[in-house]
């Protein structure tokens, strides 16, 4: 089985790719439009240079070669939501090509190319005979990442996409709602001919669509049938793919160079752009440098990059084991509350330094581990230490009593750490909403580990 993906990423510019219309959500259809994104006769595209910067960042992240000169092309096809019946995209000399991306830091997935293009408008069917068209999306900048057919299973495709999105989001600061800004065309072949499932949104749907295709194609092949080369679409509700058009030939888009835009010499720009360490690379590095297991590394990164920074600071100031115990434990459990409390200052190291100091005091033997835990929690949540202590000792005593009454749980926990769920379930039932779930998990873990 071969799977290749074409991934469309919406780039987070403030204005559209070729005009100054805003890219933010509009109150009503066709309000964020101008002569250029409506394709009015006589209007001309003017490139938003930010788009080139984002393209270069992504190309670097994907290990692509970046062309010294790049330019745009016209792709011609007729569709109502294409205002010019011509899409400005890249054909010859895209911004990046020939890259490599390592799934989980190990499995190489070849990247064919990454190019920049404008989004068309949106068609909305209303009733049998009419459609409405909204051009607010027309001209929103996209990067299209094309992979070689190196993915082997639908699950792997999903994992790849998930990791890629996390990396992309970090490298170009995509807004939180990543699902919306990523669309995917999935190519899959079980035999010789491939099928393309167009415009699938969301990781789960990519896996579902590919799995459906895998089963469908396998059935046909087993029955001695032939698979048609065709374009399909995914019906999210029913979880099936449906044939849109059989294609005997590739569509002929008649590409020419876009004559309204020039050639961009991007060598200097590309050299001047440094990208941040991607979450994937960071997790690989954390494993290597600190001997951290993959799960913990990923968990830290998924929680927050700042938390991961703190882990590294603590590990350097003390040792890896101490850092792991505290950062992956109580600090991680209270991180969301910490973020909320000091959202404006989190970027500054001084806020994080407070936690580092507490851990250092513990390491120097000035405080016990219970005191350390309380101090960290009080610091991070902004509550006063006494109430934290009361809460925590109440929680500890509820769990303690439960464990005394049910000693078999400790035995179970030795073999299977899922046994902790019994404790959590009990506390939640008994205390209702008094304690946050992270606190309960944290306390249960701590007490169980003390007992075994």
């Amino acid at each position: 089985m071969k799977i290749g993906l074409e991934i469309h990423v919406q780039l987070p510019t403030r204005s559209k790719m070729f005009c100054s219309c805003p890219t933010t959500d509009a109150d009503a259809p066709n309000t964020h439009v101008c002569p250029t994104c409506l394709g009015m006769p006589g209007s001309k595209p003017v490139l938003n240079k930010k788009v080139l910067e984002y393209g270069i960042k992504l190309a670097k992240m994907l290990g692509c070669t970046i062309a010294d000169t790049t330019w745009f092309s016209r792709k011609t096809y007729f569709y109502p939501d294409m205002s010019k019946s011509v899409q400005i995209t890249q054909y010859d000399n895209p911004i990046g090509y020939g890259g490599m991306y390592y799934l989980n830091g190990r499995t190489p997935i070849r990247i064919t190319r990454i190019h920049l293009e404008e989004d068309p408008g949106k068609t909305k069917r209303v009733g049998e005979l009419s459609s409405l068209i909204d051009y607010n999306r027309s001209g929103i900048p996209l990067a299209e990442i094309v992979t070689e057919p190196d993915l082997k299973t639908p699950a792997e495709a999903r994992e790849f996409l998930g990791q890629l999105i996390q990396d992309i989001r970090h490298i170009i600061d995509l807004p939180g709602d990543g699902e919306r800004s990523i669309r995917c065309d999935c190519n899959i072949s079980m035999g010789i001919e491939r099928c393309e499932v167009k415009n699938v949104t969301g990781l789960k749907n990519v896996e579902r669509a590919l799995t459906f295709e895998m089963v469908r194609q396998t059935k046909i092949l087993k029955a001695g049938g032939k698979i048609d080369r065709e374009t399909r679409r995914f019906d999210e509700e029913r979880g099936v793919t449906i044939s849109v058009r059989k294609k005997e030939f590739e569509a002929d888009y008649g590409y020419i160079d876009e004559p309204d835009l020039g050639i961009y010499h991007v060598k200097e720009l590309a050299n001047s752009i440094k990208i941040k360490e991607s979450p994937l690379n960071r997790s690989v590095r954390l494993s290597k440098e600190y001997g951290l297991d993959e799960k913990t590394a990923k968990q830290l990164i998924a929680t927050s990059m700042e938390l991961t920074d703190l882990f590294e600071e603590v590990a350097k100031a003390t040792d890896v084991q101490t850092a792991k115990t505290w950062i992956a434990g109580v600090v991680s459990a209270n991180w969301k509350a910490f973020e909320c409390r000091c959202s404006e200052h989190l970027e500054q190291d001084s806020t994080r330094n407070g936690i580092l100091e507490i851990i250092c005091k513990y390491k120097a033997g000035e405080i016990t581990d219970t005191e350390c835990s309380l101090e960290i929690k009080a610091y991070m949540t902004g509550k006063d230490p006494e109430s934290v202590q009361t809460e925590s000792s109440d929680l500890d005593s509820i769990i303690g009593e439960f464990l005394i009454a049910n000693p078999e749980i400790i035995e179970d926990y030795r073999k299977n750490d899922k046994a902790i769920n019994k404790v959590i379930g009990y506390v939640m039932k008994r205390a209702g909403g008094t304690y946050s779930s992270t606190d309960v998990v944290c306390a249960a873990k701590k007490l169980l580990q003390e007992k075994i």
């Binding site: 002569p35 409506l38 394709g39 009015m40 006769p41 006589g42 209007s43 001309k44 595209p45 003017v46 490139l47 016209r74 011609t76 007729f78 569709y79 109502p80 205002s83 010019k84 019946s85 011509v86 005979l129 590739e250 002929d252 008649g254 590409y255 020419i256 160079d257 004559p259 309204d260 835009l261 020039g262």
Partner: protein
């Protein structure tokens, strides 16, 4: 100056010459300093803009083309949109969807194209300057056929914002006028970089007191195929130039032969993509069966409202950029274009200007045009196309009249950004040449 009389007689004049698609009726001069007209492929807020095509009938743009806006800012009053070949496709202005402009020297003859209406307005109206657009010779050709001055500047000198594109990498906005001095007066006004058009350039300022043309090269290849009258007028003009202390030499310029096919490949490739947006959905009027599938509706609309020449160029341009043919035609034409540019550059190392007649014959009669094959019509542009392909500035000046009194023109080409040489030339020539105005009888 009698601008008021021009305005009051506009309707009558247009009835005779069909030079405007849309124009000021019962106009007032107001406090405007001068009157101007603009080719119908330049968008303007106050007139319908159709680019000579029925497919855009009823289209009222929401913005002014930069060139029009600048003329207005300078105190000009736009009096009308001049008739043209549909989207600029033609040499005789006979491909318009809105009637055919008539040559002021002989109503049975063509104004030339595609800026035919602009040349006609420049020849007929008093103190008038008209904005034209050249892709392959659309300013010089009609200037020559109507006996007026026309200049197409360096590509990038004048903003193309608001220009309804034919071949975007070739299109230039320029000027036509019966007075050479108008070119020097108005070209600086419409020039300059425009943030709304990325192909407009940072450019050297026009220095009108700069040096003059001292030596001129005439490609031998340009002399083949000239009509007798054009040859005679051209030869006597060469003598006049020599009398003006200008050195004239004949040279070889083989690139002239290849420019024409390369031009048609590039121009139609670009044109076919530009015209793709006209599907009867967004601009101008709508008609037909809206319950059709969208591509059937688009096909219906385009079949009905594009003229024959537009369809021919769409098909030609679509063919040359198709997969499998793209390298053989489109990509090759790009190389030929570089070859033509390099040959001009070599010549300009030694000479200030290249000179040829503008058109190989005087304006033909409509009955003769109707007998021409498309290729014969395309070939008529062989002297104006090369400079357009190279993006170099060029100027047509009237240089003689045939036995029937039909005007003949010649064309100067200089290096990029050397329009000042052309403007100086135009003014000098105006002092030497005895120009005839068409008889305007109403």
């Amino acid at each position: 100056m009698n601008m008021q009389s021009v305005l009051s007689s506009l309707e009558k004049t247009n009835l005779r010459y069909s030079m405007f698609n849309d124009f000021l009726k019962n106009g007032e001069q107001g406090n405007s300093k001068f009157l101007f007209s603009a080719k119908d492929n330049l968008t303007s807020k106050d007139f319908e803009t159709c680019s000579g095509s029925r497919i855009l009938e009823g289209y009222h743009p929401v913005f002014d083309a930069t060139a029009i806006a600048k003329m207005r800012e300078a105190g000009g009053k736009l009096i009308g949109k001049t008739n043209m070949d549909e989207f600029g496709f033609g040499t005789f202005s006979t491909n318009s969807g809105f009637g055919i402009p008539r040559n002021p020297f002989d109503l049975e003859r063509s104004c030339g194209g595609s800026s035919g209406g602009s040349a006609c307005a420049a020849a007929v109206l008093e103190d008038h300057v008209s904005l034209g657009v050249s892709t392959g010779g659309s300013i010089c050709c009609p200037a020559s056929f109507c006996g007026v001055y026309g200049i197409a500047p360096t590509y990038g000198r004048v903003s193309r914002y608001g220009l309804i594109d034919y071949g975007n990498s070739l299109d230039k906005v320029g000027l036509l006028s019966a007075k050479a001095s108008d070119l020097s007066k108005y070209l600086p006004i419409i020039s300059g970089i425009d943030e709304k058009d990325p192909t407009s350039c940072v450019q050297p300022k026009l220095d009108l007191k700069k040096e003059k043309i001292r030596n001129i090269a005439i490609p031998k290849e340009a002399i083949d195929g000239l009509s007798k009258d054009v040859m005679t007028a051209f030869q006597s003009s060469i003598d006049t130039l020599k009398g003006m202390d200008i050195d004239v030499k004949f040279i070889e310029m083989p690139a002239l032969k290849y420019a024409m096919p390369a031009y048609y490949v590039l121009a139609t490739s670009e044109a076919s993509t530009n015209l793709a947006r006209y599907v009867g959905m967004r601009y101008g009027h709508q008609d037909g069966d809206l319950s059709l599938k969208f591509d059937d509706y688009f096909t219906y609309f385009r079949s009905k409202y594009f003229g024959d020449e537009a369809k021919r160029r769409i098909l030609l341009g679509t063919y040359t950029r198709m997969a499998g043919f793209r390298d053989r035609y489109y990509a090759k034409a790009l190389n030929v274009r570089m070859y033509v540019i390099n040959q001009y550059k070599q010549i300009f190392n030694e000479y200030d200007a290249v000179l040829t007649p503008t058109m190989p014959f005087v304006s033909p009669k409509f009955e003769d045009i109707s007998k021409m094959t498309p290729v014969e019509a395309y070939k008529a542009d062989y002297l104006t196309v090369p400079a357009n392909l190279a993006g170099t500035p060029h100027l047509s000046v009237p240089c003689g009249y045939d036995g029937n009194g039909m005007p003949i023109g010649m064309q100067f080409v200089t290096d990029h950004w050397k329009e000042d040489l052309l403007l100086t030339m135009a003014n000098e020539w105006d002092h030497t040449f005895d120009m005839k105005r068409a008889e305007v009888s109403l």
